[in-house]
């Protein structure tokens, strides 16, 4: 390598190194404070436990935030924790019929309360049933909670972005300088390369470098302290020292909140409650021991996930093919290898030859038996198809195709664990992966299965589970894709109401005209502003619309859910949300919104 190339390489490396140095300095200078604890005290402050968890963990949120919020809500009588025996794992959450007003709760407190209320069956849910059964849902829920806690901490002046505008600008400037350095190095190299084409790589190298470094510098490294946050953290560290000084406090179960009130929640927030924190969990649950509410009573079901025998999850043709293959190979082995070897052994008696002859015969007989057995059991399996109705406990990928560079791995079989209420133990079934989107955990499904191969032949969802309602929240990831989905033209949908129906309802002749996105607006025939908007959406826009409009007075019995709030009404059927909005003089007809919803429900 000539000296000039080395110099170019050194320039590029120095440029990147310069940016790395600036980035490291930025991280060093903005690292969250580690304040010295104030004197140990039992005086609690005004911050809620989730914020306290952020402060005492050096502005990093842990799972303690959600758990301590749960305990704090129990201390504030939004629900009650009861431990019937000596085992804290048997603790149950009881939602009172007349709960305190929750309108003043913070977003993350409301989120935790909604999860408890949403999962409660007849006002009761086991504490350990609050866990999630889907990794995506768990992540989304916790991400939303963390975002809400951070937003609250910022609003309270206790926390701020670790990289503020000044640091971000400085990193951007450093990225530009580094990109220029790399670009110049690449340009100099490009000019000297005699075999190179006419396009100099300098500009491209600079742009790529800037994009990469800009992306790296733009990633949020978390939160850091503010002066107020630092002082609050020191105070709460004093509370932590006080609570940790009491050895018994670490061993208190969650139900001890009845005696210790808010101290237990704050103890969980500062990491002083080992037992309560170990029992509380709002993340992924145990796939082998799952709570089921099938039959309207909570019970634990032990789930086994079969994986050893090759027959599991296989289709009938595959099983028959396999039976035939066993029989053919066994027969061939017996005729081609087994018999002559036996003859040879007879001609030349000896222990080794005897052993080989016996082994070959045994193997061929075994294969023949296996073929026959597989054939017989497959036929019996076909004749003993069962229909089972139960609650979906767990669903996960079981088997996938072998992936390669060109062809990524693709799942073809899922485990589906179902509780039919007959036993506290169950074995997961094999669900073809193309059906895995049809149901979610908590749904009630009817399946037709072959018991020996454990393969599901048919799956019908007969009831939606509570967890579906609980996960219909919009995350930042969702909102990232929202614009794209909204820009995608929706398929034309049939009008829910005729002009005559709406005219009759509004007391004046109207004409319908389509809205730019999915929906119709009804305006007076004689001219004027719109009187009624009817919008319908599915998928993510539908979820967003439902989340925004599922408030006010609930109207039971209409579709999967319906609400009226002011001059707006919404219903949800399956994946579709319909929103009706009265405008202008049309608002006089607010009393007719429930009727309109019920009509829309029959036509959606």
């Amino acid at each position: 390598m000539d000296k000039r190339a080395v110099a170019d390489l050194a320039l590029a490396a120095a440029s990147i190194g310069f940016w790395a140095l600036v980035y490291a300095a930025a991280r060093l200078l903005t690292r969250p404070a580690s304040p010295a604890p104030a004197p140990a005290t039992m005086e609690l402050g005004a911050e809620p436990p989730a914020l306290v968890s952020l402060l005492v963990n050096r502005w990093t949120l842990t799972e303690d935030a959600a758990e301590s919020t749960l305990l704090d809500l129990a201390a504030r009588k939004f629900f009650e924790l009861r431990q019937p025996g000596n085992d804290p794992l048997e603790t149950t959450v009881h939602v009172p019929a007349a709960a305190p007003d929750s309108s003043g709760l913070r977003a993350y407190e409301k989120q935790v309360l909604d999860r408890v209320r949403g999962l409660a069956v007849n006002g009761v849910v086991p504490l350990s049933a609050l866990t999630f059964r889907d990794q995506g849902q768990a992540k989304s829920w916790n991400k939303q909670l963390r975002a809400a806690v951070v937003a609250d901490a910022r609003a309270a002046g206790l926390s701020r972005r670790r990289f503020g505008p000044a640091v971000t600008s400085m990193l951007g400037l450093a990225a530009i300088i580094a990109a220029v350095g790399v670009g110049v190095a690449a340009m100099r190299y490009g000019f000297r390369d005699p075999g190179g084409d006419d396009d100099n790589p300098g500009l491209a190298a600079g742009i790529v470098t800037f994009a990469l470094l800009g992306a790296a510098g733009g990633r949020s490294p978390g939160e850091r302290h503010t002066p107020a946050g630092r002082s609050a953290a020191a105070r709460w560290l004093g509370v932590r020292d006080w609570l940790r000084g009491h050895e018994q406090f670490a061993e208190l179960p969650p139900a001890a909140v009845a005696v210790w009130d808010r101290y237990l929640g704050y103890g969980a927030a500062v990491g002083a409650t080992h037992l309560a924190s170990a029992i509380l969990d709002l993340d992924m649950g145990d796939r082998r021991l799952v709570w089921s509410s099938y039959g309207d009573t909570w019970h634990r079901v032990r789930v086994r996930y079969p994986s050893f025998w090759p027959r599991y999850g296989r289709t009938l043709p595959i099983l028959l093919l396999r039976a035939a293959a066993y029989a053919v190979v066994g027969g061939l082995l017996f005729h081609v290898l087994g018999w002559p070897t036996a003859q040879l052994a007879a001609d030349r008696p000896g222990r080794i030859m005897d052993l080989i002859a016996d082994g070959a015969s045994l193997l061929s007989l075994l294969l023949l038996f296996l073929g026959g057995y597989t054939l017989l059991r497959s036929l019996i399996d076909l004749a003993t198809v069962r229909t089972i109705t139960g609650e979906v406990l767990w669903q996960e990928t079981w088997r996938s195709t072998n992936g390669s560079e060109d062809k990524p791995s693709r799942p073809w079989l899922h485990h589906l664990a179902i509780d039919d209420g007959s036993d506290d133990r169950t074995t997961a079934w094999g669900l073809p992966s193309e059906w895995s989107d049809r149901c979610q955990d908590g749904d009630t499904v009817t399946i037709r299965v072959r018991p020996w191969s454990r393969r599901i032949g048919e799956l019908t969802v007969v009831g939606q589970g509570r967890s579906r309602r609980l996960v219909e929240t919009v995350t930042s990831d969702d909102t990232g894709n929202l614009a794209l989905e909204m820009l995608t033209p929706a398929a034309a949908e049939p009008e829910l109401f005729t002009d005559d129906e709406v005219s009759q309802l509004l007391g004046r002749p109207v004409t319908a005209s389509p809205l730019p996105l999915t929906g119709v607006q009804y305006s007076p025939a004689e001219g004027g502003g719109p009187l009624l908007l009817v919008q319908s959406a599915g998928g993510l826009p539908g979820r967003v619309a439902w989340r925004a409009n599922s408030r006010g007075q609930e109207l039971p019995g209409i579709a999967d859910g319906a609400f009226v709030s002011g001059y707006r009404a919404a219903l949800r059927r399956g994946d579709t949300t319909v929103v009706l909005t009265l405008l202008g003089p049309g608002r006089d007809r607010r009393d007719y919104l429930p009727w309109l919803l019920s009509q829309a429900a029959t036509r959606t």
Binding site: A40, T41, M42, W242, G245, H246, E247, Q248, F249, V259, W260, D261, Y263
Partner: protein, 191 residues
Amino acid sequence: MSTALALVGGLICLLVVLIIVWGVVAYNRLVRLRNQVDASWAQIDVQLKRRYDLIPNLVETVKGYAAHERGTLEAVVAARGSAINAAQAPGVGDRAAAEGLLTQTLGRLFALAEAYPDLKANENFRALQAELGNTEDKIAYARQFYNSAVQTFNTAVQSVPTNLIAGLGGFRARDFFEATGGERGPVQVRF
């Protein structure tokens, strides 16, 4: 022979070192637990003193509306005096009894206020009532912490083999700050 003796001697030395290390660890734990008991007691003390300070204002306020309820007012003042005197004595039991009596007389005073709507409406009285209620809550929590610390300390002092170190170090079991009088009475259910 000399090797065997050296081995036995080494083992004995190791055993002695281990016992000394355990003794130091156990002693330090006892000191830590005793300090925790003292700190918890100090928290109770702070709240009780806060209550003593609030009572004269309360009595003066009530006098302005119900001066003829002298018996109740004097009982509160006397109970406060007894509690302050008990605070000077070393025993936890006597103090707990005196504080229990003060709590009871304060309860009677607030019950009496129900009969005087003007007193109930007085802002100063309401503020004092809220402040005393808040202090009572803090006393209750401080007592819980104190009793929890005492229980842990007493368990350590009385358990084998830590009791050997406790005996040598002069650690003695402490008394619980127990609720007295009305606080221990049966819960009354109102329909």
